[in-house]
Amino acid sequence: MSTLVMTVREVLRYRGKEGQLAWIGHRLAGLGTLLFFVIHVIDTSWVYFWPAGYEHAIALYRSRPFLIGELFLVLAVIYHGVNGLRVALMDWKPRLWARQRELTLAAFVLTAVLYAPAFVIMMGHIINAWSATGVAAR
């Protein structure tokens, strides 16, 4: 946790530009995704080890906090992927530095473009799920 705090605090001390913002986002998205990845692998492994537990886990994923969390997860994965691709590209073609501000902005925009439909679809799932539980509650 302390690493997370330091990661954030350091960036707040210096007024870096897009590159610094992109980096902090990348790091946080990566750490967040890793956390989910670990949980997800463990619970999925219950399919083999503990099938009943898996149903429990899935039930938990269907709860509201997890559904909202899923929105963030998908954003994090998309951003980490798109921005990671940008970083790999810049390392591969160093002279692209001259365009780095534009490319970083492009990564932000591409993330938004990819995320928008996903967000709409997932919101659909959420609304369905909530109305379903509402029905069940009644």
Binding site: E10, Y14, K17, G19, Q20, I24, M90, D91, P94, Q100
Partner: protein
């Protein structure tokens, strides 16, 4: 115009910890350097204000500091870059990541230690020819950018990887290594690349571009670091 200069101050002989001090200066010209304003504070208001400076036109590298949050040379930062109207504020702090000794002066030891680590000197043990060694303009151009470095530390102290871990050699040291790695006359590229392949070498660069944005000599530092990374990969 009127400028309020907000300066991060600290005198180890008097103060327990750093604090902010504000000085209001009148009759400031839009083309005044921030260094001129610091001088006015020192010369007209409070002589205890301490900062390094020498050439005052961006070639000696003494006065790197954080101005309105970003690393710059105080002698290359003009008031008009920060204040558009007739009144304004400019904030000045020491560069980040090196220990503050007094006011805007930081301890540069770590910085120069990292500099020395990368063997920042020409090595060619062969008997030199009678006249100059030949080098084509194209070969010379490959490392032109890295020869511009003035060791002001603006880049290294703008780097989040360096703030996190001062053992990271940092952009400036890598630029200095680049200067020799890609010089066709030099013979010790492998040694330098080996040093830079270590954990505290180039791999700590996360391609953030703070260094490139901070360089007062407009060296494309991140590009040079990437070139070094690729060269290590080739070996």
């Amino acid at each position: 115009m009127e400028i309020t200069l907000r300066i991060r101050r600290y005198n180890p002989e008097v103060d327990e910890k750093p604090y902010w001090a504000e000085y209001t200066l009148e009759n400031v010209e839009r083309t005044d350097r921030v260094l001129d304003l610091l001088h006015r504070v020192k010369w007209e208001i409070d002589g205890t204000l301490s900062f390094r400076r020498s050439c005052a036109h961006g070639v000696c590298g003494s006065d790197a500091m954080r101005i309105n949050g970003m690393n710059l040379l105080a002698c290359k930062a003009l008031v008009k870059d920060f204040v558009k109207g007739a009144k304004g504020r400019i904030q000045v702090e020491p560069i980040l990541g090196l220990p503050v000794i007094k006011d805007l002066i930081v301890d540069m030891d770590t910085f120069f230690e990292h500099y020395r680590t990368v063997m920042p000197y020409f090595i060619n043990d062969e008997e030199p020819p009678e006249r100059e060694r030949l080098q084509s303009p194209e070969e010379r151009a490959i490392f032109d950018e890295s020869t511009k470095c003035i060791l002001c530390a603006a880049c290294t102290t703008s780097c989040p990887s360096f703030w996190a871990n001062e053992t990271y050699l940092g952009p400036a040291a890598i630029v200095q290594a680049h200067r020799f790695i890609f010089d066709s006359r030099d013979q010790a590229a492998s040694e330098r690349l080996a040093i830079l392949s270590e954990e505290n070498g180039v791999w700590r660069c996360r391609t953030i571009y703070n260094c490139t944005m901070a360089c007062p000599r407009e060296i494309p530092i991140t590009q040079l670091i990437a070139e070094v990374k690729k060269e290590i990969g080739r070996r």
